[in-house]
Symmetry: C2
Subunit: 201 residues, 2 copies
């Protein structure tokens, strides 16, 4: 069976960089946004739309049915999101079957259970995450610490909801992972090299 490593990461924790560097060091495939591109090819959705759907938990908007016990419940967005999740899970399995790989986010730890992945969680203190976001901000972006905090909290809240909806588990619960790594004030390059050493054994 191929070696599969899944990375769950708090926003601003450096989890994506950690994953990419680890994949480089181990010389194995790395999938993150590549998954969105592939899903766009397989569906009629744009990459941007898929990205948006993947960052929000499906929230069925039930129609007002007071007094109608048998009203049909239908919500196009909800169905789209679920269909996309199923397509995504199937793609993840294809990728895991193809070769050793590292997959970031997308409930991969849950969807790829049968591959017995090494499940890693990357987290850090809020101040450290704000500092990391600032240092990587695109030119011209000048948010206050408060605005970064808000953005971090919003994104993580949505990721947690998405994870909880599809897996039934709490996103931040260490029991869902084999290894939780605190990147507060750490150099991600060094940290990834450090772990690549043991993972390459």
């Amino acid at each position: 069976m191929n070696r599969v490593i899944t990375i769950s990461r708090e926003f601003g924790s450096g989890g994506r960089e950690f994953a990419r560097r680890l994949a480089d060091s181990l010389n194995i495939a790395y999938y993150d946004r590549e998954i969105i591109s592939e899903l766009a090819k397989r569906t009629n959705f744009t990459e941007e739309y898929i990205h948006k759907l993947g960052e929000h938990s499906p929230a069925p908007l039930f129609p007002i049915t007071i007094g109608h016990t048998m009203s049909p419940v239908s919500n196009g967005l909800w169905e789209q999101q679920n269909a996309l999740f199923i397509e995504q899970a199937s793609l993840l399995k294809e990728l895991a079957q193809k070769s050793d790989c590292i997959i970031v986010g997308r409930c991969a730890d849950y969807c790829l259970k049968e591959f017995n992945p090494l499940k890693i969680r990357i987290y850090a203190e809020l101040d450290s995450r704000i500092a990391r976001c600032k240092s990587r901000a695109p030119q011209g972006e000048a948010l206050s610490d408060r605005e970064y905090k808000q953005r971090i909290n919003d994104i993580d809240k949505n990721r947690a909801k998405y994870y909880q909806f599809y897996t039934g588990n709490k996103w931040s619960d260490p029991l869902n992972y084999d290894l939780c790594i605190n990147t507060t004030d750490k150099d991600i390059k060094q940290l990834a090299a450090y772990f690549a050493e043991i993972f390459s054994k």
Copy 2:
């Protein structure tokens, strides 16, 4: 500065065995119950009594003082526990100054901040912890799963209270640690060897 590794562990997670094996592999000092023996030598308390105090959070029993705004508050046990904690913290610093070492429990991650320790947390799923307790039960001990669960919960509740009282932090919060390792269904010997590899770099 010496290398200091602190191990915080859930009861039944195999944290103590992990720490001992890691210390063996790295060929560095290992302190766990040795701390209690040394404290007994330095104080007038028995090892058993020190062990008991260390597993419970200090809970001041305030005398009933309704109507007496200036009543003196005194509690012998509370004072003993605090004095012992101070003595223990001082001993931990002595040990960390002496040589590279691994220290299990005792809020060492907090007391030894100035040594910049590698702070590890060992945890596991409840079922796995029950199974581990069973496999290590002394001859003649025949508890039910329910009784083991109760024991595990009681001990961890007290450890959490003790940690919270002296550090002001939540014992189970991953942010207090650099690395959290899930030992569910894992072979501790193999796991320790695995990490000894990177820690020896």
